[in-house]
Amino acid sequence: MTIALIPILPLLAAGVTALMKRGQRVPAATLVIAAQAASTVLSLLAFLQTLGAEGAHGEVARRYFNFPWLSIGSETLSLGLLLDPLGAGMVLMVSFVSLLIFIYSVGYMKEDANFTRFFCFLSLFSAAMLGVVLSNSLLLTFICWELVGLASYLLIGFWFHKPEAAAAAKKAFITTRIGDMGFLLGMLWLYSASGTLLFYDHGHGCLEQAALTAMATKTACVGLAVSNCIALLIFCGAAGKSGQFPLHVWLPDAMEGPTPVSALIHAATMVAAGVYLVARMFPIFSATGTVSVALTTVAWVGAFTALFAALIAVAQTDIKRILAYSTVSQLGFMMLALGVGSVTAAMVHLIAHAFFKALLFLGAGSVIHGVHEEQDIRNMGGLRKYMPVTFVTYAIGMMALCGVPFFFSGFWSKDEILHVAHQWPVSQLPFFMAVAAAFLTAFYMTRQMCYVFAGSYRGHAHPHESPAVMTVPLGILAGAAVLMSIPATPAWPWFHGYHNGEPITFDFARLFEHDFLTIAGLSVVIVAAGIGIGYFLYRQFAAVDPLARIWSSGFRTLANRFYVDEFYHATVVRALGLLGCLAAWIDRWILSGIVRLVGALSLAASSLSDLFDRFWINLGFDSICGGLRDGGQLASSWESGRVQGYLRFLSVGAVLLLIILGWLLT
């Protein structure tokens, strides 16, 4: 069971690094990177193994290992590890991207005093994320899910002395916690409905046919099938973690953390955990058919989020926040793909997105580092002259994200999503929303590129290129972004075949099936339009954003993120505040009143007891003592010291004896 080592090695590295002192930077970084490298190698081996494995035709090749963890009476909770195509690709991506980002962090965090602590937390996160991917039990997934949340909290609030960072970390944790409540409820319901939390367990697992049919046929409240209810609850957790509307509010604020954190957690891996969870639990989501209530909800939420976030990203001015909203939007795309029934399309986009979004974030980090911690794009400009490597890699990432055709993975994966959305029998509206979001993606990325790299430099620092330890990972990721385009084409449906266990063949003819070319052409047109309009509006820097001039109120709304945060503050936060006041009032007046009442009663009882003691018992004692004293005084009065008194008694006694003697004798 060597795949157990994949999460355990970074966990051990985190444990050892936690004990290291602040000054031991080199050992800490070396240990963490070595552990991660070992995990990457093991993931690669696992991946190669799944490539070679073949299940029965139509069945996916799965290997799993379960072990009992906790026995309560006759019930046993088991945990397990699973290795199948869905997980193997994900684990390789996660470990590889993490490794690159760890190497990047060595350079980025070089001036930070808490270098060792950063690497400890990074390693903890890596271990937890790999645990989520490789788990075969919903319980183990949940445990690692919470650990990932914890690591995210620790890393977002890494610079905790900044109040905004501390507040952002709290917001992230609380918002995802709200989603996790649904996750927990779903998990409990699943356990009660199917009797096990293991995914695959020789036919008894909850994702296997027996359990699925049982859950699909039973109905719960509102006429929904049990499987749909469970799926919707679990989707709450996924929506929280992946920043879907309405739990998206934490993701942009999470940019307070260092850039490697943003790249790793909030672009490539942690937010993808939500998508991965839905993909993993897809059998439950689709237990009542590919068009189930649960999947429909997922699709609508995903489509809405994609458009919503893209609209907000158009008006942002912080380089990382634009990327954050872009991540939310792309996650919406992935959820849409899952909702319309195509796990493959979602996973392809997830893996491709991981690479180019990490690339974009690391590039943004390089830019921030180069202009000395400036993050507002209005104060940058013309950086292509100062930071060429960063510019080229960033451009590659941007083109992959926009979906520039043919050579960039983003084009093929996004197209696949548009394709399956178009084929959805329920409605075409999500398809159009996705198309609009794609247009906006191209638009705002072009806007960002023009602000940052085009024109002339508007800031006050001296921009310089980043060191090699930061640019080399950029280059590697750029290469991956390009290379990933090859396995994603439908001409060679490698992913599709890999995931579903079908034989893989290279066939150009597939390109012409199912209106694929029409949609591909539409998306090319959209992307070109987006880039064109963006370039046209932003090629010259203007103090006031051109869009603001066109439609100022709308732009302001977008810039204020549709006032969602303010709405939450006015309702949820205020309600909780009132609840807190109520609880405090109850505590102070009722509960404390009861305590004080009990105290007063005790005091009253004790004073009553004191009175009783003083006036009743003491009197009794006093009277006894008085009696004794009087008796003593009486006895002492007989000892008057007067001889004649004694003699009288003697005489009387003698006379009495005499009489008695006489009586006895006669």
């Binding site: 007067r642 004649q644 008194g645 009288r648 005489s651 009387v652 006379v655 005499l658 009489i659 006489g662 006669t666």
Partner: protein
Amino acid sequence: MICDFLKTCCADPMKFIGDWFVLLPAIVLLLAGGAAVVMRNLIHAALCLTLSFIALGIVFIALGAEFVGFVQLLVYVGAVAMLIVFAILLTRPDQLTKSGSAFSGLGPAGGAAVGFVALVALLGFIFTSPLAKKPLPASASAPVADIGQALMGDYVVALLAIGVLLTAALVGAAVIAMEDKQP
């Protein structure tokens, strides 16, 4: 009982007169004894006591125990009564105006009552006991030679013990009454 007594007196006048030799000093004895008890003045009481001792001695002589009678007169009247008078003189109170009660703080009634009770009990025993109804034997004589013989013969231990006792009493009394010679 008094009727018998009168009959006996009239029947045998010699005996009757012989009886009065005992009875008369006995009456004096009782009167003097009573007076000694109730007298306030201490000297008067001591003198009455002396008189009662003398009467008692005469009673003894009249009853035939001449030796005891003379011993009584010698010792009691000659020594004890003198001692008492000397002690009274030696322990005169300093202020002659001190007039304490002759009877103790406990009250004379109590003492008199106890005495009365004892008297009643004794009289009851005397007049109900068959032993005390014996008649008078003819004569009883106690010649001094016989007393001397008995003293030196049967009662020699007691005699010697009495000697020791008297010696001890003499020495003790002298020591007790001695003046303290502390400077």
